[in-house]
């Protein structure tokens, strides 16, 4: 969804005008816009009369909030011990090359956000990648790009 001042105001209006609402509003920004826009944080600071620096600190602290637009799909590449030994790095590099994207960033077409994560708890099928809710076990660096191309 595009970021508009009207939408930003609507989200801010859902909560009380107190400092406790900051996190709730930021989470709603994330849900609606798939990121926390700078304009949103500025507006929120103005409405609540809280320093922008405090809101920015919160926005950068939480992993669940992203300051750049996230992709339609989230690709998690497991870097846990088992996956690491089975070549998770090559898989991550294959994705980075295949979609010209750096880890923990989003592809230009905003389709994928690629993340490295520490363990998804599926070590028996290492190496694992998780696309949204789908687990792809025994991943191979030669195949991952084809797997991801099915997601649009």
């Amino acid at each position: 969804m595009d970021v508009t001042i009207a939408k930003v105001d609507e989200i801010i209006g859902r909560y009380g005008k107190t400092e406790e609402s900051i996190l709730a509003v930021l989470q709603d920004f994330q849900r609606e816009f798939r990121y926390v826009p700078e304009e949103g944080m500025k507006r929120l600071a103005g409405v609540l009369d809280v320093p922008e620096s405090r809101i920015y600190a919160m926005g950068t602290f939480y992993k669940a909030l992203s300051l750049e637009p996230r992709g339609k799909h989230t690709v998690k590449v497991c870097m846990g011990t088992a996956c690491h030994l089975k070549g998770a790095n090559q898989i991550l590099e294959a994705i980075e090359r295949g979609f010209s994207v750096k880890r923990n960033h989003t592809t230009k077409d905003k389709n994928f956000t690629v993340e490295s994560v520490n363990c998804v708890g599926a070590c028996a099928m290492a190496p694992v990648i998780v696309v949204d809710e789908d687990y792809h076990g025994h991943a191979r660096s030669s195949k991952v790009v084809d797997i991801l191309k099915k997601y649009n």
Binding site: E38, M41, P51, E52, S53, R54, I55, Y56, A57, T60, F61
Partner: protein, 242 residues
């Protein structure tokens, strides 16, 4: 203001209940190294871990940060035992890895016999090279200056002080208090005859009407006028010509 007596390094000293062990030790001329503590900033301290001391109470002993440990009747403090030195050495070695070029940390580390840390010194990906992320600058900005122009952003290794959105801050008044307070001199501030640059923002300087020496950023003068009601004429002359 309850007076209490405690023992520091075998010497009995008198202090006020709940003042910090560090401040009482310093009042009595005893040296405890510290970086992130600043007596003028209430919320400061507790993050650099350099001011560790042993606190004995009855049979128990704890190692605590003296900058925020309250003085209570009957405690005994030891500031320079082998155990304290050993722990502090480890702390300084890690700080040296984070800020290998900081002369302040190098000096402290050298006192404890560390010149080369054993660990990686490539440092995290932060914009301030000598920063140890102690938050003193952001506390000064919030509690003393009162503008909250900067805050600690990100977390973990990448935690660092920065202005919102990593851009020049609208709130910053260019007072430079953060740079003066920084224990490792990590914050860059450049003064030229006409302007001061800090946190990526350039400030026009107010010049003295007598000697035309620049002495305060105009935005800072405006801030002081706004918050304290001080007379505008006060900022026309530098402190020497007032």
């Amino acid at each position: 203001m309850k007076k209490v007596k405690i023992v520091i390094n075998g010497k009995t000293v008198e202090g006020v209940q709940d003042q910090s062990v560090l401040s009482l030790a310093r009042e009595n001329g005893m040296y405890i190294p510290s970086l992130c503590y600043n007596a003028e900033v209430q919320s400061s301290g507790g993050s650099c871990r350099v001011c560790l001391v042993e606190v004995h109470q009855g049979k128990s002993m704890r190692v605590v940060t003296s900058c925020n440990y309250p003085v209570r009747e009957g405690i005994e403090v030891k500031t320079d035992t082998e155990f304290v030195r050993k722990i502090r050495k480890g702390v300084l070695e890690l700080l040296l890895c984070r800020a290998p070029e900081s002369s302040e940390i190098k000096e402290l580390a050298a006192r404890d016999g560390i010149t080369e840390p054993r660990f990686f010194t490539d440092g995290p990906d932060v914009h301030l090279k000598n920063c140890i992320a102690c938050s003193l600058c952001t506390q000064v900005c919030e509690d003393v200056v009162g503008v909250s122009a900067i805050s600690m952003v990100n977390r973990g290794r990448e935690k660092q002080p920065a202005a919102p959105y990593m851009k020049a801050s609208n709130a910053c008044i260019g007072c430079g208090a953060c740079a003066y307070a920084c224990p490792t001199g990590a914050i860059e501030m450049t003064d030229t005859p006409d302007a001061r640059t800090i946190w990526g923002k350039t400030f026009e300087m107010q010049k003295c009407s007598v000697c035309s020496t620049p002495f305060i950023p105009k935005e800072q003068a405006e801030w002081i006028i706004k918050t304290t009601g001080k007379d505008r004429a006060f900022f026309e002359k530098c402190p020497t010509h007032r």
